[in-house]
């Protein structure tokens, strides 16, 4: 697929740990490079953010964005791993486009991830409830990937 090859060539060392499956490309990105990668995916390639998945692994808190390249049916999935489980911090991609606003707010309240520069960093689903910490964590501790 030419778009994938061009993306890999353009991103170069900014991405690592690439897993290339049929129509799926998973790769790791450092927080400092996330803006460049997302800008390229959204503005240059015309990808659409389907959603993002947060989870706890042995390495830390992981946030996996799912960008759909609708013209080809391909998925580009940048993965950000935050090793400080008690205080995971990363930059928000909502300033780039509004479609990420809700899912980042949800991940912030469920996984305690602080999204820097998020225009509205308040809980999405538990706005009217007392602040819980890492709302899913009691379950995660038992089963890690």
């Amino acid at each position: 697929m030419p778009e994938k090859d061009k993306f890999l060539e353009k991103m170069g060392s900014r991405i690592s740990a690439v897993i290339d499956k049929e129509k799926r490309l998973y790769f790791e990105v450092q927080d400092k490079n996330l803006e460049d990668v997302v800008n390229y995916l959204f503005h240059k390639m015309g990808c659409r953010l389907s959603t993002a998945t947060a989870m706890e692994t042995f390495r830390g808190i992981e946030v996996l964005y799912h960008f759909s390249h609708d013209a080809s049916g391909y998925y580009f999935c940048p993965r950000i791993v935050m090793t400080d489980k008690d205080n995971p911090v990363m930059h928000s991609i909502t300033p780039i486009f509004n479609g990420a606003a809700w899912i980042e707010r949800e991940m912030a309240e469920y996984w305690n991830v602080t999204f820097l520069n998020h225009p509205r960093p308040e809980p999405l689903l538990t706005k009217n409830h007392p602040k819980g910490e890492g709302l899913n964590q009691p379950f995660r501790i038992r089963r890690k990937s």
Partner: protein, 395 residues
């Protein structure tokens, strides 16, 4: 001077609990704020404690209308982990059930939209002719809803070939009536004067908010999972992707009406193929390996997205669900600003929002899991006791 009009969380227009705050200047909406979080379902978390097969039944209950779309996206995700193939007959059955779901969902919305603007004839027509589709589901699966058809590696229910003629006949009835509804909806001067130019979502806003489904296609964004990543039998059937340009409520109506007609075409092609294609409906899947998979399906409201990560056991260690309403609802912030208050409610309804889909997750305030369960048990017992007292008095 600005005033605030609260809509919800319990409002006649909203079938489910949701809360909108409209800031108005005179009659014009100047801002809208959305407050979700009134329902907590816990599907993602529960799914991680179920086997892959059990999860299919669970996600089927995320939404009563998309009760094929979620299981289909879920099995696509699990199949994506190991690139599992499905038999051809199963592909046609999946596509048939998926398209019948689209017809009944769109008819449901068309009826509701008619009702919201006071056009009750359209409402009664649409819901009357939705009934035969539910009968088709009953013929195929035995259920009018929650069909239990999907399985990893194929389908659980075969379509009885002796019933194919009956299914064709029902589809003939729906086809004729859809033509009538399409004419009534597209050419009606009342509908046009009420809906044209109302709640416009521009193409740029649809892209910016990552909108999906008819909401995006009505704004000229050509995205449809059935075309972009044709799973199941979508690469084997002929159909058109319906796209309009204006992005208003009327275009959203037109997209859904025309998509319903396309869906009847697809369903008919599947029925014809099921007469000829025989064989297995389910491949034997012994185990799911370690990995991650993405599954999606074009639900009536747009792309349903499921992500699973597996560790080689029979359960997912992470199961992420994203319903189309989750990305379509925030578009209100673009489509509702600057419109009169009277148009706001039909604009809110135009994306066909499903709040129980949107709020598929759970909140756990207490870190102690056992205590949480005990609290839930206590609440359940208190409710049962309250109901018992209401029925039998204080005995």
């Amino acid at each position: 001077m600005s005033n605030v009009i609260p809509v919800g969380p319990y409002h006649p227009l909203l079938e489910e609990a949701e809360y909108f705050t409209l800031t108005v200047d005179g009659e014009t909406v100047t801002d809208i704020d959305l407050d979700i979080g009134w329902m907590h379902r816990g599907h993602e978390l529960i799914s991680e404690q179920k086997t892959f097969t059990q999860s299919i039944y669970l996600v089927e209950r995320i939404c009563g209308i998309c009760s094929t779309s979620h299981p289909l996206a879920c099995v696509h995700a699990v199949e994506d982990v190991d690139n599992i193939e499905i038999p051809e007959r199963a592909a046609y059955i999946r596509t048939l059930v998926g398209e019948l779901e689209r017809i009944h969902s769109h008819l449901l919305w068309i009826g509701l939209a008619g009702h919201f603007i006071g056009y009750d004839t359209l409402w009664m027509w649409a819901w009357k002719y939705r009934e035969p589709i539910l009968e088709m589901f009953e013929v195929i699966s035995g259920n009018r809803n929650h069909y239990g058809v999907m399985r990893v590696g194929g389908v659980a229910v075969d379509v009885d070939t002796t019933k194919l003629k009956e299914l064709h006949n029902i589809l003939d009835i729906v086809d004729k009536k859809m033509d009538m509804i399409a004419k009534a909806a597209k050419d009606d001067p009342v509908l046009k004067s009420r809906l044209v130019g109302v709640g416009v979502l521009s193409k740029q806003d649809a892209i910016d908010y990552c909108a999906v489904g008819p909401t995006a296609r009505a704004s000229g964004v050509a995205i449809d999972v059935r075309k972009d990543e044709p799973n199941d039998a979508y690469s084997l059937v002929d159909f058109n992707e319906i796209i309009t340009e204006n992005g208003d409520v009327y275009d959203k109506l037109v997209v859904r009406v025309l998509e319903t007609i396309e869906s009847t075409r697809i369903a008919r092609q599947c029925l014809e193929k099921l007469e000829k294609v025989n064989g297995s409906i389910l491949n034997d899947v012994k185990e799911i390996g370690i990995g991650e998979g993405i599954g999606r399906y074009e639900a009536p409201r747009g792309e349903v997205f499921h992500y699973v990560r597996t560790d080689g056991t029979n359960r997912p260690i992470r199961h992420k669900v994203r319903a189309p309403s989750y990305v379509n609802i925030p578009t209100f912030q673009a489509s509702c600003k600057g419109i009169p208050v009277a148009d706001a409610l039909i604009t809110l309804a135009a994306v066909d929002p499903c709040y129980c889909c949107t709020e598929r997750s759970i909140k756990i305030i207490n870190r102690n899991r056992d205590r949480c369960q005990l609290e839930l048990l206590k609440l359940s017992r208190e409710k049962t006791e309250k109901i018992r007292r209401e029925f039998y008095g204080s005995k």
